[in-house]
Every structure is written in C-alpha cells, then in structure tokens.
C-alpha cells in the first residue's frame, strides 16, 4: 500500500525536482514483476473508489480523468518462447527498473539448462543475442507504446512512450500532491485528533481524506 507518509515523501521529492528518487521510491514501494504489473499497481492505488479521479489544469480548464480513461490500452501481461540460434528464449514486457531492451528477456534455455534472467545475471548476455531478440522485443515495446497515459477524448489525451520520464509522469499523476497542504492536514490530525506520525505509515491517502471530510462536516455543524 502507498501510505499517506509515502505520498508526503514522494511529493516532497517531486517538489525538490528529485525525479530519480521519486522513481526509485515508488518502484521500491510497489515491487513488480514487470512494467505492466507496476502500472496496474499504480492505477489500483490511485483509483480505489468509484469517484476517484485525477484533475489536470489544461488551457485554464479542469480536465478530469477517471479510472477508465487512465492508462488506456494497457496491454495484458504475457510472455512467449522464441527459438533463436540454439536457445529457447522467453520474452515478455520489460522490468520497471531497467529501460534497456535486454530486460524483456525473461528466461534462456540451452538444451536442458534453464536460466531465469534477472537484473543480477542479465549483464552477461551478449549484445549479439539481444540484437537477434530485438524483432520480438520490439513487438512488446510497440504494444506498450500503443497505450495512452490518459485518453479522455480525441482532443484531450496523452500517449505513452516507453521511457523513464513518462513513467515518472505517471507516478506524479498517481501519487504527487501539494506538499504544504499534506503537512498542514497531517499536523491538524496529529494536534487535534491524537494521530501519531507512525499512524500515517498505515493509513492511505483516501482514508485521511475521508477523516478530514468527516472533521469538516463536524466543524461546519458546530459553526452552524
């Protein structure tokens, strides 16, 4: 789960333009099998309730992105086996922590020896073999690039491109909030309602928003 404190931390990092740290912070919090798995987890964390949405200011208007419009055409995760030279090579979608095509190589089988490829051992794969896999790897990258970060309509949409900056932008859309407002909200709950700082490690953004809504309703009633 991405907690309130996670959102607070990632918003602080983003505010200070530490984009690489934003990326590594969230990828560590959401361990994923590959990029598809990661994007699905981001979406699931952001859109918990039916009315959850992302609001963007575009041309002095507010663009509202609902769950169905976000990460449109996200491909279904799959892997296939290809026979290249004397190897059976399993290829799938790339890992989130590597933007290199080699991370699409998942398994290598030579005769009866099977090697599961991961970031600790894929460094030894010759580039000549990666090059031979490229036509197959490209089909996965093409499917990824066929996706939209959001697609509201033909005018308001944003295409996905497989690179780190776009992934950081998706993290921004899902998890970054106004840092100062988050701190104010947190201080209010700690001061008035006996929350501890550690409590926010176990509470989601949505839960805090729900608490604040109830508090505001209560305060409004008292005022009336």
């Amino acid at each position: 789960m991405i907690s309130y404190n996670d959102v607070l931390e990632v918003s602080k990092l983003y505010k200070h333009k530490q984009y690489d740290k934003v990326f590594s912070y969230i990828t560590e919090r959401l361990p994923s099998k590959n990029i598809i798995d990661f994007l699905k987890k981001c979406k699931a964390e952001k859109f918990i309730e039916t009315n959850d949405c992302i609001k963007l200011d575009i041309s002095k208007k507010e663009l509202i992105i609902y769950k169905d419009d976000f990460l449109k055409n996200l491909p279904l995760d799959k892997e296939d086996i290809y026979h290249i030279d004397n190897y059976k090579i399993t290829i799938g979608y790339p890992n989130i922590d590597s933007i290199l095509p080699a991370s699409c190589i998942k398994k290598l089988q030579y005769k009866d020896i099977l090697l599961n490829i991961n970031p600790t051992n894929y460094n030894d794969i010759p580039l000549s073999l990666v090059k031979k896999c490229m036509p197959y790897i490209q089909t996965y990258l093409d499917k990824l690039n066929d996706m939209y970060v959001y697609y509201v309509n033909d005018k308001y949409n944003s295409r996905f491109l497989y690179n780190k900056y776009i992934i950081i932008n998706i993290i921004y859309l899902c998890f970054v909030q106004q840092h100062d407002s988050l701190i104010q909200q947190q201080l209010l709950l700690m001061k008035q309602y006996n929350f501890t700082y550690q409590d926010f490690n176990h509470i989601s953004m949505n839960s805090v928003n729900a608490y604040v809504k109830i508090i505001n309703l209560k305060l409004n009633k008292e005022d009336a």
Binding site: D20, S98, I99, L100, A102, L108, Y110, I113, L114, L115, N116, N121, Y122, N123, D124, I125, P126, L127, S128, V130, K131, K132, K164, Y165
Partner: protein
C-alpha cells in the same frame, strides 16, 4: 544454471590482435556494457543546451575509458579504438562480411608524414599531424566537458576532432609542439584560427582518413550499441 552463465562469459571473451597494441583478451559487448552506457547518459539532462554535442563528446569519452580499462597498463591508440569498434559492431550484428579493416586502418600512418602549409592573415602556418592515444583524446574531452559555462557548440566538437590529431604548429619558423602546450592554451589557440584555416585542416584529415570514414562516424554514433 551457472553453466549457461559461464557459456555466455566464454562467448563474450575473445582474443584479438590490435593493430598497435598486439594481442589482447577482451570482452565482447554485453548487457553490462549497455547498462554502464545507459547509466552514463542518465546523468545528462535532456534540457542541456546542445545536448546532442554533449552526448557525442560524452560517448567518445565513455568508449575511450572503457577501452583504457580493458588493460590499464597499455597505451591504446586511435587506430586500436577504430579496430575494436569495428570488431564489436560486427559481433553485435553477427556479420560475416569479409573485412579489410586492418588494411584500411593503415591510412592512419600517413598522419605522421603529413605537413600542411597554410597562409592565414599573412602568417605562414605549417601543421604537422600525429595519431592520438586514447589518453590524449580524453584529456581534451575532459577539458571540454568539465567547462560547465561552455554550451558545447559544434565548434567544441570541431576542436576535438581536429586538434587531437595535431603534433606541431609552425608559425613563421617557430615550432610549437602540442605536447608542450596545456589543453587550455590549445583551446585558446584554436579560437584564434579562422574558419577557412580550420576547414582546410578538416578537409586534409578527411581526405587522409577517407578509408576509415565509416568507422570515424561509428566513433561518434552514441546510438550504435544502445
């Protein structure tokens, strides 16, 4: 499992005879190389002014450093680098095309014998050339890349690509050996050259090294192994 990893390690290791540095055991390019290259480029912001020139200079420096680190006690030459780039490129592309690379690289020898006479603003210039070592190239690159105030214009690339080949400049009977001049002074000297003179030197180099033009382009093509 380790068997397959050692098979890859064996596949990736090869003995080659370099044109200037004899036989050497080297690694063919693997994902490790690509990862290092990727991490090297990650530190360059895409907002950087003239980012393409920065990529070119950084890439050449990266390749030079990569080769130097293969055998730190050896002195690798420009010709060794072009040979290795050709070797790696053919390996990555699994190319069986017969190669004339060793023959083509002999054109680099002509540099040592060449003298280019030029007239610039009533001054007679005689330029002598040499084949640079990779350490010498990296000294120039480090100077250019560490100067953060400089926007890395095309002229910086020109400075590197011409002045790495200079051995001496004779100005009105005085000989100035490039080895005795600091890179800062060399750069100041470069800025005094007029465009026509630089064009003449570049043309002479291009004609002399014509047979290795493709390799010279590969040398600066940062996307070739990416």
């Amino acid at each position: 499992m380790p068997n397959l990893l050692s098979k890859f390690k064996d596949l990736c290791t090869s003995n080659v005879i370099l044109p200037d540095s004899n036989e050497i055991t080297i690694s063919k390019l693997n994902v490790n190389f690509q990862t290092k290259l990727h991490n090297h480029f990650t530190n360059i912001s895409e907002d950087t002014e003239n980012v393409d020139n920065v990529f070119i200079l950084e890439y050449i420096k990266f390749i030079n450093k990569y080769i130097i680190e293969l055998h730190s006690e050896r002195t690798f030459t420009y010709r060794d680098k072009l040979f290795l780039l050709d070797f790696w490129k053919k390996d990555v592309e699994s190319s069986d095309e017969p190669s004339n690379v060793l023959e083509d690289l002999k054109c680099i020898d002509k540099l040592n014998e060449m003298k280019l006479k030029l007239q610039s603003s009533n001054i007679q210039l005689i330029i002598q050339f040499k084949q640079p070592t990779l350490e010498e190239e990296n000294k120039i690159l480090t100077f250019l890349l560490e100067d953060n105030d400089n926007e890395k214009t095309d002229m910086d690339v020109v400075f590197f690509d011409i002045f790495r080949f200079l051995r001496a400049i004779h100005i009105d009977k005085h000989e100035y050996l490039i080895d005795n001049i600091s890179i800062q002074e060399l750069h100041k000297l470069f800025l005094l050259f007029d465009v026509q003179t630089l064009r003449e030197i570049a043309k002479t180099l291009a004609e002399t090294l014509e047979k290795v033009t493709t390799l010279r382009l590969l040398e600066a093509d940062y996307a070739s192994f990416y």
